[in-house]
Amino acid sequence: MKRLAWTGSLLLAGSLTAPVSFAQVSFDRILNANKEPQNWLTYSGNLSGQRYSELAQITPANVGNLEMNWAFQARSTEKFETTPLVVDGKMYITQAPNDVIALDAATGRTFWVFNYTPSTDARPCCGRVNRGVAVLGDTLFMATIDSHLIAIDATNGRPIWNVETGSAKAGYAMTHAPLVVKDKVIVGVAGGEYGIRGYIAAYDARTGKEAWRFYTIPGPGEPGHETWSGDSWMHGGASVWMTGSYDADANLTYWGVGNPGPDFHGNDRPGDNLYSDCVVALDADTGKLKWYFQFTPHDVYDYDSVQVPVLADMEWKGRNRKIMLWANRNGFYYALDRTTGEFLNGKPFSTVTWAKGLDERGRPMRIAANNPASNAQRIYPGPLGATNWYSPSYSPRTGLFYIPAWDNTHAEFQDAPADYKEGKNYTGGVLKNYGAGIRANQVLDRKEEDGYGVVRAIDAKTGERKWEFKMADLTMSGILTTASDLLFTGSREGYFSALDARDGRLLWKVSAGGDIAMGPMTYQVNGKQYVAFAAGSSLFAFALRP
């Protein structure tokens, strides 16, 4: 651990007209975040991952009166993937790669900037991005692309502690917003493309001392180690790069785990490769594994299962059950019992050709010919998946689960051997006729049969599609729903849209002029509800015209 020299700049703190005030964010407040919908206290709004808000000032009837109240322009050309937190009128965002900025949530004016310069050893595979901070008490927490976890004073932007969780030089990187559970800050690590050994780790929020660490690839002697061959477990990836969820009743924290490495070359790692492509349920105090469910055993397609676990309580076949909803990058939708991990239901939500379906335990029934070793088969979905890290949403009012999906994307996968070298690419194989990258082209030149973005609303219980909203280009935007049955989402085209969550009808849209690649959120200050989203290099806050 090391103390940081403070490089932040205090801009407006202490101003006579806008004094900084700060209320302590206890874990009890986070646990009951739905009771204070004017705030947005975690990456997904609360600990259930639903990205659903009880705010209802903006309605289907008046959403057409939204107008921009303010914009914040980042000093970065990287993708703006952060979901802001809002605490009692103050907004906290990250500016790629790893600056933290406090804003006035009603005006967008900056209070302070904490500048952090990550090590030049940092090598995140797919952009120097960050998706936001966590808060506890009067402290913010940011995970960095050089694999550090930093605690920052939310009042003045001064760093408090800084711990290195893994070696940046070896490819360990962190891009997601941490999750606070009780007195701990929990993070996972990216770097699957570089042959890391993934982990989820918890740190004491006050001191930064590591409390527990769960390796997503079991070591020798641990259950599940037998699902790897030879030394393949040492560099098998299974990264963790999206924020988990938490169930207080079970005291379990749930995290999605990434694909095994080398991504497209499975011959050197025969077996299921646990706990890659799993959801793991960990005791939040100890990090001990309670249960796991593997979506894609022995993945050779890069189908990371890092999606945000969405927790919902509902009546299920005559009794109330605690459910986990999951739209996976592999193209299947799953409903699990989140207390036991039992598979309850599953079916494709997008075009799938690597498996013909799921068996009664939720295990995919593979189509043997459709894998990279069969030499460049066209396989659906492509390596970026039928969905990815973009947040889905669940509305307890409609009972619908809303998926930011890609359909018709595909690729020809070709197997090739890979040798591990520290910090070097370790994907094994090539992709052909693969036109869907992680950034949008400014001009769209694609047929629908080569992929499009779509919001798919499915019945959370049955997986049946209820409605869809198709886009011309792909989408990397998360989805927000509200208690007034509004659904907000963006697109690569730069449109930010409001749909009727009940039937998918377009109610309002604005062209924001840049990729929207983050999870939208909503909050309220001085009686006014705002909806915030980022497009291109800017963050926008919209509210109703007076």
Partner: protein
């Protein structure tokens, strides 16, 4: 489909590269495959999606020599979004060769470029196509077509224009709610709109909501020249078109 990846040479058309700027033995075809496997995810298929970099036009932030580029491909650029790869030098050199091939003038020996130029201007091509400021804009501008297509693909487009049409080169037809008919090419589009260049060379912005109907034709507006050109003339025309390379816009 990125047919650039799978092009093979047609009968009677021989590809010879002028290797100015890189060493013999570097394989641009292999480099193209490696580019689409390793680079296009972030850089885009045309190499232009990362701000400040346009690989297709050889606009780089810091690199100038082939060795600079190979070092960046292999080691990445510390402190930026460009990560290191695990590619051997030979593979990296193929990627560099591919990038250089997009701007380095190519001598295609299948025919005579001067005769091809004459054919281009006398056989009606400029009624629809434009090269370096001359000709119509209704069909794609071909000023840089030699960087975008392989000889076999150009030959196919001349003899069998319907065989493989890029999405934005399809013929678009729309009828507005007040009954006006618009034909042309959709040069960009999104969920709600089309950006069109119409048959009168006008740029139009069309809201889908304002259209009574619209459709794309998989048939090319271009006639086949199979019975209008002799094989030697096709080779001349392809040779001319292959000489039209991307201009460095520095």
């Amino acid at each position: 489909m990125r047919s650039i990846l799978i092009a093979t040479m047609g009968a009677g058309l021989l590809l010879a590269q002028d290797h100015a700027g890189f060493s013999p033995g570097q394989d641009t075809e292999a480099g193209a495959q490696l580019f689409f496997a390793n680079c296009s995810n972030c850089h885009g298929v045309d190499g232009a999606t990362v701000p400040g970099v346009d690989l297709g036009r050889n606009k780089f932030k810091t690199a100038s020599t082939d060795e600079d580029l190979m070092r960046i491909v292999i080691n990445g650029v510390p402190g930026t979004g460009m990560p290191p790869t695990n590619l051997p030098r030979e593979y990296a050199s193929n990627i560099v060769a591919y990038l250089r091939s997009l701007v380095v003038p190519t001598v295609f020996n299948g025919g005579d470029a001067r005769r091809g130029h004459d054919l281009f201007t006398t056989k009606g091509c400029t009624n629809c196509h434009r090269v370096l400021g001359t000709g119509s804009r209704t069909a794609p501008d071909l000023s840089e077509i030699g960087s975008m297509r392989k000889p076999k693909e150009l030959e196919q487009s001349i003899l069998d224009p319907d065989a493989d049409i890029k999405p934005n080169n399809r013929t678009f037809k729309a009828v507005t709610r007040d009954g006006a008919t618009i034909t042309g090419r959709v040069i960009n589009r999104d969920t709600f709109t089309f950006q069109v260049i119409d048959s009168k060379e006008r740029l139009l912005m069309l809201e889908k909501a304002d259209l009574r109907e619209f459709s794309f034709s998989e048939k090319s507006a271009m006639p086949s020249f199979k019975d209008r050109l002799a094989p030697a003339e096709v080779a001349d025309l392809v040779t001319y078109l292959m000489s039209l390379k991307r201009m460095d816009s520095k």
